[in-house]
């Protein structure tokens, strides 16, 4: 009996230890990032161009580049993702086609991001002759975001009680009207949460934009869709691996990483907040 008791406490202790280690890593990680990053952080850092071969100055072009890449990608991916999810939840016929689409979505979701990068390079950059540009990168990121948005929207639409769609149909609404006026508005907060989470994910992606959009250094801001852009994640990588003044580049890399981290975490913070509010206010 005593042996079993001991075993019990030991077992629970080990399980708790694993959770503790996970927590501890996160805390060390965050402390390190904030500590190292905050030393270079200033308003000027975010709003000025890099100077002196990346060893001084700010990261403004990278902030702008990441903003445009992410925004364009989401603008492309969201309508496509929502419409696909509508098809899967509301039309869903023929069955073999639905299965095929679902397998395609799950495969895309599990495909490494570097492969999206190669695809973007082969198709957008080379085949369609869009070159290394904002638009090539945004389209590549859109494809990356697509499965996330589809899955989130599908779940959101399936969460809408059938009472609502029945009521709408019984009032003489067509299927399209029911989807557009009842299903999607009811599911909207959840769709939004999913979209925001995928914004956070693609804003931090590096591998897909390496060969499709990103440039190490650009003196000017992107002016058109066909311009190369700087981007925060690629900038961090470039600062760490290229150039010769690592003593002055590493702190800038930390600062850039902190900005990226704050951006991504506040974005997912918004998503968590919305989800929390939905759960609290839901009345059906």
């Amino acid at each position: 009996m005593n042996r079993r008791k001991l075993q019990n406490y030991l077992g629970l202790g080990v399980l708790g230890l694993f959770l503790f280690i996970t927590f501890a890593f996160l805390i060390i990680f965050l402390v390190r990032m904030f500590y190292m990053g905050s030393s270079v952080l200033s308003l000027e850092f975010v709003t000025t161009n890099p100077r002196n071969a990346m060893t001084e100055g700010g990261i403004f072009p990278a902030v702008v580049g990441t903003f445009w890449l992410t925004t364009l990608a989401i603008l492309v991916a969201t309508p496509m993702g929502v419409l696909t999810a509508v098809y899967l939840t509301s039309y869903g016929r023929p069955m073999w086609f639905v299965r095929l689409v679902k397998i395609a979505i799950n495969t895309l979701a599990g495909t490494p991001s570097i492969i999206f990068g190669l695809f973007g390079m082969a198709i957008f950059v080379n085949l369609m002759r869009l070159n290394i540009s904002l638009i090539s990168g945004a389209l590549t990121l859109a494809i990356l975001a697509l499965p996330m948005i589809i899955n989130a929207t599908e779940e959101a639409l399936r969460g809408v009680p059938s009472d609502f769609s029945e009521a709408s149909l019984a009032l003489g609404a067509t299927k399209r009207q029911t989807i557009l006026r009842v299903m999607i508005p009811t599911a909207l907060p959840n769709i939004l949460t999913g979209t925001i989470i995928s914004i956070g994910r693609i804003a931090g992606e590096t591998a897909p934009i390496m060969f499709t959009a990103a440039t190490f250094y650009s003196r000017r801001l992107p002016e058109s869709l066909s311009d190369e852009v700087m981007a925060l994640p690629y900038h961090i990588y470039a600062l760490m691996t290229e150039g010769t003044h690592s003593a002055s580049q590493v702190p800038i890399a930390y600062g850039t990483a902190l900005i990226l981290l704050l951006m991504v975490l506040s974005i997912s913070g918004v998503a968590v907040f919305i989800r929390f509010n939905i759960r609290r206010n839901r009345k059906w």
Binding site: R4, Q7, N8, L15, F18, L19, I21, T22, F23, F25, F29, R32, M33, P79, M80, L83, V86, Y87, S90, Y91, F97, R99, K102, A104, N106, T107, G110, T111, P112, I114, I115, F116, L118, F119, A122, L146, P147, T174, R176, I179, I197, G200, R201, T206, A207, F211, P233, Y234, I236, Y237, M240, T241, Y254, A257, L260, L261, V264, L265, S268, V272
Partner: protein, 289 residues
Amino acid sequence: MKSFKEKSFQSITYITSLFTIVILMGIIYSLFREGLPLFKTVSVKEFLFTQNWYPTHSEPEFGAWALIAGSFYVTLGALLIGVPLGLGSAIFVSEVASPKLKEIAKPVIELLAGIPSVVYGLFGMAFLAPLIRQWFNLNTGLNVFSASVILGVMIVPIIASMSEDALSNVPKSIREAALALGSTKVECIFRAVIPSAKSGIIGSILLGFGRAIGETMVVLMVAGGSAQIPKGIFSSVRPMTSTIAAEMGETVMGDLHYQSLFALAMVLFIITFVTNLITELVFLKRSFR
């Protein structure tokens, strides 16, 4: 009778759905179109099973075995770290933790999932690697071990959230039955709950595997980068993903080196595709819901 608007709306949703299949086909097509021509010059056997990777020599050699092995070493290391941490956390959160701790732990683990991989890479390169070098008295801290630690932590949220789902789907009655028969909490967890959630847990580990083997930035920045079969956990390696990322910039479109990198991507895609398919069909049964 359906009106024109109804039909066109339905068609649009149908076409966007079709697009997901088109994209997948496009990915497969582009990988194979750019990668397959390599095998006119280099045999499949030589590519997969020899280990001299000298793509830029005057007489280039394309033996990718060391790169493939490098990917598996690092991924295995990541699983050795990620599985206990992820699964242990999931079990603790789902079975032991108080509701209050649960409420904190879940978003914290989700937070880990939101950190961009390049930031993990920076952390590994600028913080963890120097520490490892110091502690173990090495020439460099950029090696299998450091990469595995960072990758391991990266896959914790995947494994934790999916196996937590599997665990919480285990009916309460199974726990009650085990406890009523006089088992301790730990016996109940390991003999009753985990066996019932087995397929979901294995599925989560397989997804973690797929994520780790496909991860680029962390291994590119932290694994060291020498194309050799690692001799130990402190050797430097060059996994497939980091080879592609590091070398693509040096290639000329359409040359042998370019083709060989696409061929590597083919190998990587096939590995993740098969892993995914097995996970979805056998362990999670999601695609056919």
